[in-house]
């Protein structure tokens, strides 16, 4: 075999390896029902859930902070309208209440969803809709 052939095979092998490894690392978007289902089957991988904070009459409900302020619980409603209590082991992000969309990454433990990470989409970061008179 020529050097260039070995070279080409090696490159293809590495590229395929990269594809397999990165699709293997890819996360999955799920709603709470699906996440609970895989949890009950013993699958403990972390998933992405998209939704928003639970609101009653425009007020966020179900938010409770630990006394040492380093972690908190909140209620989240996913895109399929499932409600879920979520635990986040970090201080409450200051923009949480202003967020219009929340993406959480985590897994179920018993009947609580543990969010290792929270991404917040805030309406006014780049585009504003309200005018103060």
């Amino acid at each position: 075999m020529k050097t260039s052939h070995i070279f080409a095979i090696a490159v293809i092998a590495i590229a395929v390896g990269i594809i397999i490894s990165s699709t293997g690392d890819a996360g999955t978007y799920m709603n709470f029902n699906e996440a609970l289902e895989i949890h009950s089957k013993g699958d403990d991988r972390q998933v992405h859930v998209v939704g928003e904070l639970k609101k009653v009459n425009g007020e966020v409900v179900g938010l409770s902070e630990s006394p040492d302020k380093r972690s908190f619980y909140f209620m989240m409603v996913d895109k399929a309208n499932n409600e879920q209590r979520v635990f986040h082991p970090n201080p409450i992000p200051n923009d949480l209440l202003r967020s219009e969309e929340v993406v959480i990454i985590g897994y179920y433990k018993k009947d609580t969803f543990i969010a290792k990470d929270i991404l917040l989409k805030c309406p006014s970061k780049y585009q504003e809709e309200e005018i103060k008179v």
Partner: protein, 850 residues
């Protein structure tokens, strides 16, 4: 309402689009017919185009600097208090402005091309003007049909963008102030980083344009000479732009580092890698006429990737996967068209010439220079491939959706980990190739010569690695929560990257010594490679071996349900309550405001005035030379700082001031403060603090009966009831002739400062009023409840609350300076290399060959 600048600006945008199109046609014709007179006419239209672009910028800047908030751009991105340098950076906060910045650099580059090049002007400018037409179309803001909007103009009126009810009542309504600039962008790096980055974006177009011109004119190899110095310049500017962004993120954002593998970062990293790869193949071609096809593909790819990254970050396709990317302003289809035009167009041009492009059937020899360059270039391409693959997941979802396939690919759960675990191995290979390849570059090598050359660098590298192993440094990284196998892999990759980076530095250094003796002008390559290897070392130490020193295992266990999940990286500190952290004792001293010429001042010692930029001192502040009643000018209306003293075990003390910015429109934003020393940075950022909007809870009420001059204890603070004052007037209360007001003055000695509580007692129309006094730093509230004239006593009600607190995270990043130093070395290397190629090009031009 001032319509004039908007009208001028809008007209200039349309003219700039039209002139770029006309110039494109004329340059096209001039190239086709090799006509210099047509070229001159085309140049004229190009100059007109440049003039229109400058007019657009002038009009927009006029609107911003004169605070014309009837325009959406000014209202949305600026405010009347914004200083001039941030007005400049507000320019590129929005999509439209950043396109404008890119267009601006393109016009400048076009002028440089017309000025410096003779032979290629018309053909290169054809490509240029086409790109320019696409870019100006992005800010066109024209609606030819109901459903078709071309471009998003920066000159839109506020009332046309936002349908607020106020505009129905009063169409000429102008808001008093704008929303202001995102606090994160109020940073000197944000004044210079975007221009650098967009210059980098713009320059990728130059080698691309030369390459396309070469294909078009059938000069399939001649384009390399003028393109090479531009490719090097582009790689340099892009590289500096990326690192400035990283440094800004490190200093300003609070994710705790300089690189987060965010799509916005990746979108520039990938074209940069490919541009660097193309430089290597172009140099290989110049030396031995090999790798022309690869060079063409790489040069085109780096430009197309820039267009692709524009699509990624500006079309809104990233949606849920990035918090940083721009939102969609309705350019999706235009961006796709832009991408496809250049992808397909360049592919057609290349394919039409493919057969004419020489390629060798010679077998690659292991001991040839080309073989090693190819190894390096392939590694760079694999790195780029991996990053663009993962970053493009949302695009795959979208494409899958078009054919009814639900791919459901989310970004990796552990983003940094997933990218790092592949990139690190490729970086190891890269360091190894960049060391060994250099020997082949300068000499014909065989196995004996190679052994001899490699010997010393290899011994140095292995020796250094062994020392690190034996001292146990390699295994000193944070191993919490990792599986045994993963730990082993991490350990191995860290050791290998150290080994290969040191080897690369040593090898390139020996090369550098021998090259400098012969001809210092040729030393660019060796210097650049040393810089890259240093950066790898800096990244290894600062990211692989960073230590979270605010780790905390003693906190109250609130969540007994999830003990192992509770983050232990953050520390809760109460004001003036010293707390141990690693080798330090920390003391949080309270919130400070920054004043011009005065520095940090306790926020409780000043009070606001009608002018938001001016404060008045409430008491003497001795160490700052401030007297009661002095007015002070604030430096940053939105900024507050947390003063934190660090007392080291050996007695050395320093103070950090991490920042919080409170902006009505954007919310609360934290920035770290960094203590920099030669060998490590101590990075501290506040994660949260009590919301100042929320009223404090008071408890432990206590009533005291005291006389003037008595010493009393207010929540254990030694205090003296100094005196009472009769007041002639009380703010907000009108006093009649039968009314009276008295102020009691109590001096309280706190842990670090002296405070005054000054409660007021008012009798008005025979009713009693009380104005309580709050000493925020001590969580004390004092009320003057009553006066007993017979006994000469005063009755105070004292309440105490919870002291202020912060939750912070502190990280130590060892040897991060090697990374910044490596960047500097890399820059110097690039400049040396560019100078060499530019001189070559100029020499050819003098001979009328270019």
């Amino acid at each position: 309402m001032n319509y004039v600048p908007g009208e001028i600006g809008h007209l200039a945008i349309i003219s700039s689009f039209v002139t770029s199109f006309i110039a494109f046609g004329l340059y096209f014709y001039a190239t086709k017919h090799k006509s210099t007179s047509w070229e001159k006419t085309a140049n004229f239209f190009y100059y007109a185009h440049v003039a229109t672009v400058f007019t657009i910028i002038g009009a927009l800047f006029y609107i911003i600097s004169n605070h014309h908030f009837e325009y959406h751009y000014a209202w949305s991105h600026t405010s009347s208090l914004l200083p001039i340098y941030y007005q400049i950076s507000s320019f590129w906060e929005g999509q439209e402005g950043s396109f404008l910045l890119w267009i601006f650099w393109n016009t400048i580059l076009g002028l440089v091309i017309i000025k410096t090049n003779r032979k290629w002007t018309a053909s290169v400018m054809t490509v240029f003007c086409l790109i320019q037409a696409f870019l100006t179309s992005m800010i066109l803001g024209v609606v030819p049909f109901e459903s078709l909007k071309i471009g998003s103009s920066p000159f839109m009126l506020l009332r046309d963008v936002i349908s607020a009810p106020i505009f129905k009542m009063n169409p000429d309504f102008i808001p008093k102030d704008g929303n202001g600039l995102n606090p994160l962008l109020q940073n000197y790096w944000m004044v210079i980083h975007p221009p650098t980055l967009f210059l980098g974006f713009a320059t990728t177009m130059v080698p691309f344009a030369y390459c396309m011109a070469g294909m078009w004119r059938g000069e399939i190899k001649e384009w390399i000479r003028p393109a090479l110095p531009w490719a090097q310049f582009s790689a340099l500017v892009l590289g500096i732009g990326i690192l400035m962004g990283a440094y800004w993120a490190y200093e300003t954002l609070n994710f705790g580092g300089y690189w987060n593998w965010d799509p916005v970062e990746n979108a520039i990293y990938v074209p940069w890698l490919i541009m660097v790869a193309s430089i290597h193949t172009m140099i290989a071609y110049k030396k031995s006429e090999k790798a022309l096809k690869t060079s063409i593909i790489l040069v085109v790819a780096s430009f197309v990737l820039i267009v692709y990254s524009t699509y990624l970050t500006r079309s809104g396709v990233l949606g849920d996967s990035s918090v940083h990317s721009f939102t969609d302003v309705g350019l999706y289809n235009q961006l796709v068209l832009y991408l496809l035009t250049f992808l397909v167009g360049s592919a057609i041009l290349i394919i039409s010439q493919w057969k004419k492009i020489p390629s060798t059937n010679e077998e690659l020899e292991t001991y040839s220079r080309e073989f090693w360059i190819f190894l390096g270039v392939t590694t760079l391409c694999l790195m780029a491939f991996h990053v663009i693959l993962v970053t493009s997941f949302p695009v795959f979802n979208k494409l899958g959706g078009l054919i009814g396939l639900d791919l459901n690919l989310a970004p990796p759960v552990d983003q940094v980990g997933a990218y790092t675990k592949v990139q690190i191995w490729l970086a190891i290979a890269l360091a190894f190739f960049s060391g060994t390849g250099q020997f082949f570059w300068w000499k014909r090598m065989d196995i004996d010569k190679l052994k001899k050359a490699v010997m010393i660098p290899a011994i140095i590298a292995i020796g250094a690695t062994l020392v690190m192993f034996l001292t146990g440094y390699f295994s000193s990284f944070d191993q919490e929560g990792k599986e045994k196998f993963d730990l082993l892999i991490s350990l191995l990759s860290y050791a290998l990257i150290f080994l290969c980076a040191v080897y690369s530095i040593a090898a390139n250094f020996t090369i550098l010594l021998s090259v400098v003796k012969r001809n210092p002008k040729l030393s660019g390559g060796a210097i650049t490679h040393i810089g890259v290897a240093m950066m790898l070392l800096g990244i290894l130490f600062s990211s692989g071996y960073d230590q979270i020193i605010s780790k905390n295992y003693t906190g109250i266990l609130w969540s007994s349900e999830f003990p192992e999940e509770v983050n232990k990286n953050n520390l809760l500190i109460y004001q003036n309550d010293p707390r141990e952290m690693g080798n330090y004792t920390l003391q949080y001293k309270g919130i400070r405001r920054l004043f011009k010429d005065r520095g940090f001042v306790n926020q409780n010692f000043v009070e606001p005035t009608v002018d938001p930029e001016v404060y008045v001192a409430k008491q003497n502040i001795v160490n700052k030379g401030i007297l009661k009643g002095d007015s002070l000018t604030i430096d940053g209306v939105e900024n507050s700082y947390f003063e934190i003293d660090y007392i080291k075990k050996n007695g050395r003390t320093f103070t950090l001031f991490p920042r919080v910015q409170m902006n009505d429109a954007m919310g609360v934003v934290y920035s770290p403060d960094i203590k920099r020393t030669m060998f490590a940075d101590l990075y501290t950022h506040v994660r949260t603090f009590p919301d100042p909007e929320i009223r404090e809870e008071w408890n432990n009420k206590d009533t005291l009966q005291v006389q003037v001059g008595d010493t009393l204890y207010l929540n254990d603070y030694v205090s003296v009831f100094e005196r009472v004052e009769r007041l002639q007037s009380v703010a907000g209360v009108e006093l009649g002739s039968l009314d009276a007001a008295v102020k009691a003055i109590i001096r309280i000695t706190g842990e670090t400062d002296t405070y005054y509580a000054e409660p007021i007692f008012i009798i008005k129309n025979q009713n009693v009023g009380k104005i309580e006094s709050v000493v925020h730093d001590l969580a004390l509230k004092v009320k003057l409840n009553g006066i007993n004239p017979e006994q000469g006593t005063f009755s105070f009600e004292v309440s105490s609350g919870q002291k202020d607190w912060i939750i912070l995270e502190a990280v130590e990043k060892p040897y991060i300076n090697i990374l910044w130093l490596g960047t500097l070395v890399l820059t110097i290397g690039f400049i040396v290399a560019i100078r060499r190629r530019y001189l070559e090009f100029m020499a050819m031009r003098e001979k009328q060959l270019e």
